[in-house]
C-alpha cells in the first residue's frame, strides 16, 4: 500500500475524512511558512498541499493571490520549497505531501526532473491546476515512471461521462471542486455539493476529496459525512495573514485546524 492509500484507509477505519491543508509556501516568508505547515501537521492535518506561488494564478481568489504575491516578493522559489518539503517529510513520515502549482512553474523546472525529484525527497504527488485531462500526458508519463500520484480535478461543471473518465485514470485521490469559480472562502450550497459528491463516489475507485470555499468547522463537518477528504486552503491562509504577531496568528491557525480535525469525524 502506498502512503496516500494508507492515510485514507486509516481515516476510514477511524470513521472520519482525511484533513487536507493547502499552504502557500513562502508566505509570508520561507521560514514562517515552514512553521505554519509544521503547526498544521501537529494540529491534525493528514495531507499537506504545498502551494508553489505563481505570478499569474488564474484559478485563485484574492486570499491566495495576495499570499503568492508576497511569497514571490520575499524570495520563494521552487528549489527552496523543495528543500523545505524534504525537511518536513523527514520529520513527518506519516503525513502525505502533494506539490501544488501551475504548469509554467513545473515546466520551467522540467517535468521529468520534478517527477524524479519528488519521490526522492519523500513527496507523494503533484497537482497542476491548469492541466486538464486533455493535456495531462506530458506530466502523467513521468509521474507514472516515478511512482508519483498525479492528482486530478473534477468540478460541478464536469459532465458525468467526463468525470468518470477522469476518475478512472486518477491516482491517489480526486480533488472535487465545490463551486464553479476560483479559490476563496464563501458560503457553500452544501446540499448540492453533498449530492454531487455522492454521485462521484458511486463511480470512483479512488478517494474523493472536496475543496474550495470551506471556511469553517461546520462546512468541513457536513462535507466529511460523504467526502473521503476535505481540503482547506484560503481559510488557513486568511488566518495566517491576520493582524498581530506571527506567533499569535500561528496559534490561531493551530486552534482552527485542531477544530477542523475534530469535525471531520463522521456521525454514526
Amino acid at each position: 500500500m502506498n502512503k496516500l492509500q494508507k492515510i485514507f484507509t486509516r481515516c476510514c477505519q477511524e470513521n472520519r475524512a482525511a484533513l487536507i491543508i493547502f499552504c502557500s509556501c513562502g508566505y509570508p516568508d520561507m521560514e514562517s511558512s515552514e512553521q505554519a505547515i509544521e503547526t498544521a501537521i501537529n494540529a491534525g492535518a493528514d495531507i499537506i498541499e504545498l502551494g508553489v506561488p505563481f505570478s499569474d494564478p488564474m484559478a485563485d481568489g484574492s486570499i491566495i493571490r495576495k499570499a503568492s504575491e508576497v511569497a514571490i516578493r520575499n524570495g520563494a522559489t521552487l528549489p527552496k520549497i523543495l528543500d523545505m518539503a524534504e525537511r518536513l517529510s523527514k520529520r513527518h513520515p506519516e503525513t502525505g505531501f502533494i506539490l501544488f502549482s501551475y504548469m509554467n512553474i513545473l515546466y520551467n523546472y522540467g517535468l521529468e526532473k520534478i517527477c524524479r525529484k519528488l519521490p526522492e525527497i519523500g513527496l507523494d504527488g503533484i497537482l497542476a491546476v491548469d492541466l486538464p485531462l486533455e493535456e495531462k500526458e506530458e506530466l502523467a508519463k513521468p509521474c507514472q515512471e516515478n511512482g508519483l500520484h498525479l492528482i486530478a480535478l473534477v468540478s460541478p461543471a464536469t459532465p458525468l461521462e467526463r468525470a468518470r473518465k477522469i476518475m478512472s485514470e486518477a491516482s491517489g485521490f480526486v480533488y472535487s471542486i465545490n463551486v464553479c469559480g476560483v479559490t476563496g472562502v464563501r458560503d457553500l450550497q452544501q446540499q448540492e455539493i453533498v449530492e454531487h459528491l455522492a454521485v462521484l463516489k458511486a463511480h470512483s475507485t479512488v478517494p474523493i476529496a472536496a475543496g474550495f470555499g470551506i471556511n469553517d468547522a461546520q462546512a468541513a463537518q457536513r462535507l466529511s459525512q460523504i467526502a473521503d477528504g476535505v481540503i482547506v486552503g484560503s481559510a488557513f491562509i486568511k488566518i495566517l495573514s491576520g493582524k498581530g504577531e506571527f506567533s499569535q496568528r500561528l496559534e490561531a491557525a493551530r486552534e482552527f485546524i485542531a477544530d477542523l480535525a475534530k469535525n471531520v469525524r463522521r456521525q454514526p
Binding site: 499569474d56 488564474m58 481568489g61 504548469m103 523546472y109 491548469d130 485531462l133 468540478s155 469559480g181
Partner: protein, 393 residues
Amino acid sequence: MMNTHYGIYGGQYVAETLMPALTELEQAYLEAKRDPEFHKEYQTLLKNYVGRESPLYFAKRLSQSLGGASIYLKREDLNHTGAHKINNTIGQALLAKHMGKTRLIAETGAGMHGVATATVAALLGMECEVFMGSLDVQRQAVNVERMQTLGAKVNPVSEGSATLKDAMNEALRDWTARFKDTFYLIGTVAGPYPYPMLVRDFQSVIGEEARQQCLDQTGRLPDQVIACVGGGSNAMGIFAGFCDYPEVRLVGVEAGGKGLDSGEHAASICGGKVGILHGCKTYLLQNADGQITDTYSVSAGLDYPGVGPEHSFMADSGEAHYVTVNDDDAIAAFDLLARYEGIIPALESAHALAYAIRIAADFPATTTFLVNLSGRGDKDMDTVRKFKQEQGA
C-alpha cells in the same frame, strides 16, 4: 475533436472548471463555420458596419524617399473603431449571440480591443464588462471613456503588474464563475484552443483581401508581408492570405522596447523561452523561476509577455520570421508616415512600418512590401509627446 496544438504549442491549459466552456465554444464555432446564415451575417456587418473591404494603398512618397522597395499599406486603420480588432469582435459576438449568451467580457491593454468589444456589445444589445490593468486605465483614459460611453463597465485590475496579463487573468477568473451566461471575447490569437483558431479565422479577412488587392494593383504577390506582433492577431490575419505561397516572406515584428539587451521589451519570441500562460504553451517572457516578467514597450498594444501559439510554431518551423523594432525606431516611423503620406499610424503598426523602412533601401523598387497598418494613431498622441519630451530632456 480537432487538433488543438500547433506542434508542441497551444493546447488547453486551463482549470477543469473551464473545460466544458471551451468544449461548448468549440462546438458552437464549428457549427457556425458550416452555417451560411452565420457567414452572411458576419460578411454583411463587415461591409456595412466596419466599412470593409479596407483599401490597399501604395505609399509612393514614403517609398521614393527611402529609395528602395515599394511599400503598400493594408489600411486596417480605416475600419470602424480604428483598428483590426473589430473584425474579431464582430465574429465572436455573433457567435456569443448564437450560443444564447447575454454578457460579453474582454481583457484589454491599450483599450482598442475593449472599445471594439464594447462597440459590438452595443450593436448587438449585450451586456459588456471589460477588464483592464489599473496602470492602463490611467495611461489610456480616453479609451476608458469611449468604452463607458458605449455602455460597457470597465473593471480596473490592480494586481500583479496591473497591465494586460493581469486583466486577462481576471477575465479568466470571471469566466470560470460565470460561463453559463457569459462569453469571453479574447482579443488576440492567444489563450486556450479554440481561441487561437477562431481569432485567426475572423482576422483572415485581412490577408484574403490583401492578396487579391496586391494581384489587382501590382499583378503579383508581394515579396514580403510585414506585421507587428503583440498577441499576434493582425499578423496572423494578414499571414493567413499568404500561407500557401512559400515564396512570400512573412515577417512578424515584436516590440524591442529599449532593446533586447536592456531586458525592457515585449519580444516573447525573440527574447523569451517556452512556457505556459493563459491556457496555451508558447514563447513567454519569464524569469529563471518561471515567474512571468513585466514587459515594456512604448506601444501599449504590444505590451504582452506571451504570443499566440501558432506564431511560436511558425517561428520554429521557419514559416515566418520574427524581428524586433525598438521604441525610437517605431516613433521615427510614426513621424515619417505622418509627414510623407498624411497617415498617423498606431504605435503598434509603426513597429511593422519601421522594419519595412529599415530594410527598404536594400531592395529595388520592383520589390513590394505589404505592411499591415493595423490601426490609427489618434490614441497615441499623448504617448508620443511624452516620449519625445523624455528623449529631449
